[in-house]
């Protein structure tokens, strides 16, 4: 039975790539929040102002 692989730390290049991926992921998620927010406003349109109170 083969022993499980020991944990392998990532090298500086791997860490730099991971950091760039994390930054892009953060930007994408932030962009999605903005897109969904604006889409909600667009879909609501004038219905909020015209609703019966």
């Amino acid at each position: 039975m083969s022993a499980p692989l020991p944990p392998q730390p990532f090298g500086p290049e791997d860490l730099a790539r991971r950091r760039r991926r994390a930054i892009v992921m953060a930007l994408v998620l932030g962009g999605l929040v903005a897109l969904f927010f604006v889409t909600t406003i667009v879909r609501l349109g004038g219905n909020v102002a015209l609703r019966s109170l």
Binding site: G11, D14, R20, R21, T39
Partner: protein, 318 residues
């Protein structure tokens, strides 16, 4: 204090994944295929009867683009074994070891679910369901099942690539109409001659044979492939006139389509008649190059008609 540099240098680190750069993940999305999906979906949105808020149209295009990217990533996950033995696909991120197959699967599945939910919730359920079916069709029916089982694989794969204008149309109308089916049929009929011309020109038969993919030129030979190219090209001409008969397009589109169809058929006849030597290779290259221009002009003309406010014909059928 321990020196970790020896561990960092270990070649087994790649086995843990997490090696892919942003560019590798972008490559998983097949950006060129994605751009075609965006363009044809845009035409579907423009050609559909009714109006859509520009912001929502942009959201629909983004969701369709992400769905198309999901198809690319899931395709590269499943086809990693054959990508590794074909020259054309050897440099993809999974065969290169930059991204693990499991990472491609997770990335593709996340994008697939996200794009379908976004389109269904932001636009309408029909558009979301069509996008879900497209992804299912491309991955399960084409990639997993028929790509490795039948020489007509590219015909089936072409159907998946033909759905984006239907999805764009459904984003506006919330329905599947004859007009959107006509746009689907144009791309569906265009794909086989386009791809088989490329296969004959670039002589990728050895690649596909090595990978065990029963592409038509490998299984049936170049002569039968040339015959099939001619058949699909002849079928393509009447199909391009369907939008006019259905009242989607008008005079300008019809004239442009007839002219483009005549050139397309002339190129296909040339491919059929020339079977050997540099002239045959040139004919295949010519048809492949023109087919790209042809598809762009056909859809650009539909878009231009709508942007210029040109009046479409009264529907003859439908």
């Amino acid at each position: 204090m321990s020196d970790i540099s020896t561990d960092i240098a270990s070649p087994t680190a790649a086995a843990y994944g997490g090696q892919g750069a942003v560019g590798d993940y972008v490559a998983l999305l097949k950006p060129r295929v994605m751009s075609l999906s965006i363009f044809t979906a845009l035409v579907g949105i423009a050609a559909a009867p009714g109006t859509l808020h520009p912001w929502l149209a942009a959201m629909a295009l983004i969701a369709i683009a992400v769905g198309a990217g999901a198809c690319g990533a899931l395709n590269m996950w499943y086809d990693a074994d054959i990508d590794a033995v074909m020259r054309r696909t050897l440099s993809r991120p999974v065969p290169r070891g930059r991204i693990l197959p499991g990472e491609a699967l997770g990335f593709g599945a996340t994008l697939a679910v996200g794009s379908v939910l976004a389109l269904g919730l932001m636009l309408n359920v029909v558009a979301g369901a069509l996008l879900a079916f497209t992804i299912f069709f491309y991955i399960v029916i084409y990639t997993v099942w028929l790509k490795r089982a039948t020489p007509q694989n590219i015909v089936i794969g072409g159907a998946a690539g033909a759905f984006p204008p239907m999805i764009g149309w459904a984003a506006v109308t919330g329905s599947v109409d004859l007009g959107s089916i006509a746009l689907f049929l144009i791309i569906f009929n265009w794909t086989p001659p386009h791809f088989w011309a490329l296969a004959l020109w670039r002589n990728v038969n050895a690649d596909y044979a090595r990978a065990g993919i029963p592409m038509l030129p490998v299984v049936a030979g170049p002569r039968e492939t040339r015959r099939q190219i001619l058949i699909y090209s002849l079928l393509l001409a009447p199909v391009t006139l369907l939008p006019s008969l259905l009242g989607v397009t008008g005079l300008v589109y019809t004239m442009v389509a007839v002219a483009l169809d005549l050139v397309f058929i002339a190129c296909a006849v040339r491919v059929f008649r020339l079977s050997d030597g540099p002239a045959a290779e040139k004919a295949c290259r010519g048809l492949f190059s023109f087919s790209i221009v042809w598809l762009f002009l056909i859809f650009a003309t539909i878009l231009a008609e709508r942007l210029l406010g040109l009046v479409p014909f009264q529907p003859v059928i439908g």
